[in-house]
């Protein structure tokens, strides 16, 4: 294990030497107001303005890498996760177009590996990955300008085979860059939401022992070789929302009310997905997540390309329990990709009614 860790560290050291060293900037070179945002764990999203009349700011975030053992299903299967801020996915960061995003990436000494972050929303240096590689016990601060609106994935990308492994171990999250004037339907009409949820989907690849049982490991490094073998078969053992099968069901089900419009941001950093709200729809859907494009409307199922985040709004019209799944139903039911919405409100008979309850099939008429 020590050998493997040493190897991982020396690989990282080589990557560090190759990385371009950028000159450090004075903290106040932009002469813009600063705002520090405390991130919250998904599925929740930190408080933010949907449209803003303020000028551009420097928005400060801190991402702390946490390597930890987590449980990923009801059967108690354990998994050596690598996370941003302890959650899978990492938190959603919301800013407005023209803001500067200033992220401090902390890699505490208690971790075993170097980490970095590639923001799909940022321009240059592999999304910032080249400028952010930090060993355990180090931290780095990166600033990038939010020039494009939309929902974007961020993920760890520490070079070579470390990239896919860190991503499918939990190191991915999303950024939402809102237009300063807020979302619109593409025809000038504002699209607003009453609450926002962030769902991060992960495909996980857990090795099995010779009897077929899932194996447990004491550190990420020890799980690496076996895990890569499973990954290369491209068949995940788990497909989960927010880190665990059932993480967003039961007492942790998402909630809403009839008449409320919910914004659902859905990210998948590695693999395609097809969100579907059983019993509901997507009113306005930015399937590719980019708000400079007009949203599609009235969708049944939408497509999230691996390596992207999409956004959908839906106004609930009927109370009850809804399942939010990826509509590969094998993945939804057998592998874990199901969330539930619990929606309170008044039933609308006009939209649906059970005209006649189940009963015997009447005998065929003989005349």
């Amino acid at each position: 294990m020590l050998t493997r860790r040493a190897a991982l560290l020396s690989a990282a050291a080589a990557a560090l030497m190759l990385a371009v060293s950028a000159p450090a900037k004075a903290a106040d070179d932009l002469k813009l107001p600063r705002q520090k945002v405390e991130l919250v764990a998904p599925p929740f999203v930190h408080a933010h303005e949907q449209a803003t009349k303020q000028g551009p700011k420097i928005i400060e975030f801190t991402l702390t890498v946490e390597e930890k053992k987590v449980v990923i299903d009801e059967k108690g299967t354990t998994f050596q996760a690598m996370t941003f801020n302890g959650s899978m996915p990492g938190p959603l960061m919301v800013v407005h177009e023209g803001d500067y995003v200033e992220v401090t990436l902390v890699n505490p000494a208690s971790n075993s590996m170097p980490h970095n972050v590639d923001f799909h929303s940022a321009t240059g240096a592999l999304g910032g990955a080249e400028l952010t590689l930090v060993n355990p016990g180090e931290q780095v601060t990166l600033r990038w300008k939010a020039t494009r609106t939309g929902t974007f994935v961020y993920h760890c990308a520490p070079g070579g085979p470390m990239i896919p492994w860190h991503v499918v171990s939990g190191m991915a999250g999303a950024v939402m860059v809102l237009p300063r004037e807020g979302l619109t339907d593409g025809k000038g009409k504002p699209v607003k939401y009453d609450r926002a949820y962030y769902i991060g989907e992960f495909d996980l690849y857990v090795p099995r022992d010779e009897k077929g049982n899932f194996k447990a490991y004491d550190s990420p490094g020890e799980s690496y070789n076996d895990t890569v073998e499973v990954m290369k078969k491209l068949t995940p053992t788990h497909v989960v929302f927010n880190g665990k099968a059932g993480a967003l069901t039961g007492k942790s089900a998402l909630t809403s009310k009839v008449g409320e419009t919910v914004l659902i941001v859905h990210s998948q950093a590695n693999r395609d997905s097809r969100p579907h709200l059983i019993g509901g729809h997507g009113d306005h859907v930015w399937e590719t997540g980019k708000f400079s494009n007009a949203p599609e409307t009235g969708l049944e199922t939408w497509f999230i390309r691996g390596g992207s985040a999409g956004a959908a709004t839906y106004k609930f019209l009927q109370p009850g329990i809804y399942a939010y799944v990826t509509h590969n139903l094998i993945e939804a039911v057998e592998l874990g990709a199901t969330a539930h919405f619990k929606v309170e409100g008044k039933w609308n008979d006009d939209l649906m009614t059970q005209v006649k309850a189940p009963s015997e099939i009447p005998p065929a008429k003989t005349n």
Binding site: E74, G212, G250, P319, L329, V333, S359
Partner: protein, 291 residues
């Protein structure tokens, strides 16, 4: 075809709405004896008595959904039922004898751990094998018998029906099922979930138990009596922290099966032993028991 799939899921998920269970206090005081037949499986005798029982299944009245009726049931005879769920080691003996399907990998084989991830068919195969082996008659309990033996561990799942707003019932059921006791799905040693007033162990823990009761849709008259019933015996009642309806060949209900429900953690079972008839008693005495 997808619609058919969803309908099937919905059917299997129709909530069992069982009702407030005022359990007669005179049920306690059960006689307990263990392993008398050499199987090593302790049997508890629940004394004759009454149970207030919310009927399992789905109910309609005048073509509309109706609440499940509450019935008072009298058990004239004592009920002999296993103190523990069938252990994985006991089940494995049936596997070794070639009469039962192997347990899934990952199920711990031990004399003090329940056999879990077993289907209704597996449970019946075991009951048949055990009966042949011992000359006794073992079978799954009915839902009524399970409720009677479970006593205070049987939770009434009765819910009012609001025909103007079906969602109220779904949400109420979902919230109730979400009130799952903490502890997760890991199988524990016998006794970890306590003993009820009748001497039965681990009822309503994290193992749901198969019963022989079929999923049935009842048509009620105005007085609440069943005037006709249609059963689907491909779906059986399972009992535990909440009543659930599971397709008989399913071994692991945890993946769901319900698009929007809370599934059982583990599927296991315990058996009822029928009182011996004088014929079988004589046969056993003469060592010519069946099988």
């Amino acid at each position: 075809m997808l619609i058919a799939f969803k309908l099937k899921l919905a059917l299997a998920c129709v909530a069992g709405l069982a009702g407030p269970l005022a359990v007669a206090p005179l049920l306690s005081d059960a006689g307990i004896r263990g392993g008398a037949d050499g199987t090593g499986q302790a049997i508890v005798e629940v004394r004759a008595g009454n149970v207030s029982y919310r009927v399992a299944g789905d109910f309609t009245r005048n073509g509309r959904q109706a609440a499940a009726p509450l019935r008072h049931i009298t058990f004239q005879e004592p009920l002999a039922i296993m103190k523990h769920q069938v252990s994985s080691a006991d089940y494995q003996a049936c596997v070794d004898a070639g009469a039962c399907r192997s347990l899934d990998r990952g199920v711990v084989i031990a004399p003090d751990r329940p056999a879990v991830q077993v289907s209704w068919h597996d449970a019946n195969a075991y009951a048949g094998w055990l009966s042949r082996k011992t000359g006794e008659h073992y079978r799954l309990p009915t839902d009524e018998e399970w409720a009677f033996a479970a006593g205070s561990r049987f939770s009434d799942d009765g819910l009012p029906v609001d025909n103007d707003d079906p969602s109220k019932r779904w949400i109420a059921r979902y919230e109730r099922e979400s009130e799952r006791k903490p502890g997760g799905g890991d199988v524990r040693a016998f006794g970890s979930f306590g003993i009820n007033e009748n001497g039965l162990a681990d009822l309503a823990g994290n193992v749901w138990e198969w019963t022989s009761t079929c999923f049935t849709r009842h048509r009620l008259d105005d007085a609440g009596e069943t005037v006709s019933a249609r059963s689907n015996c491909g779906v059986r009642v399972v009992q535990g922290q909440h009543r659930s309806y599971v397709t008989d060949f399913i071994r692991d209900a945890r993946a769901g099966g319900c698009a929007a429900g809370v599934p059982p953690d583990n599927l296991g079972f315990r058996l009822v032993r029928e009182p011996q008839s004088w014929v079988s008693a004589v046969a056993k005495a003469l060592h010519i028991a069946r099988g």
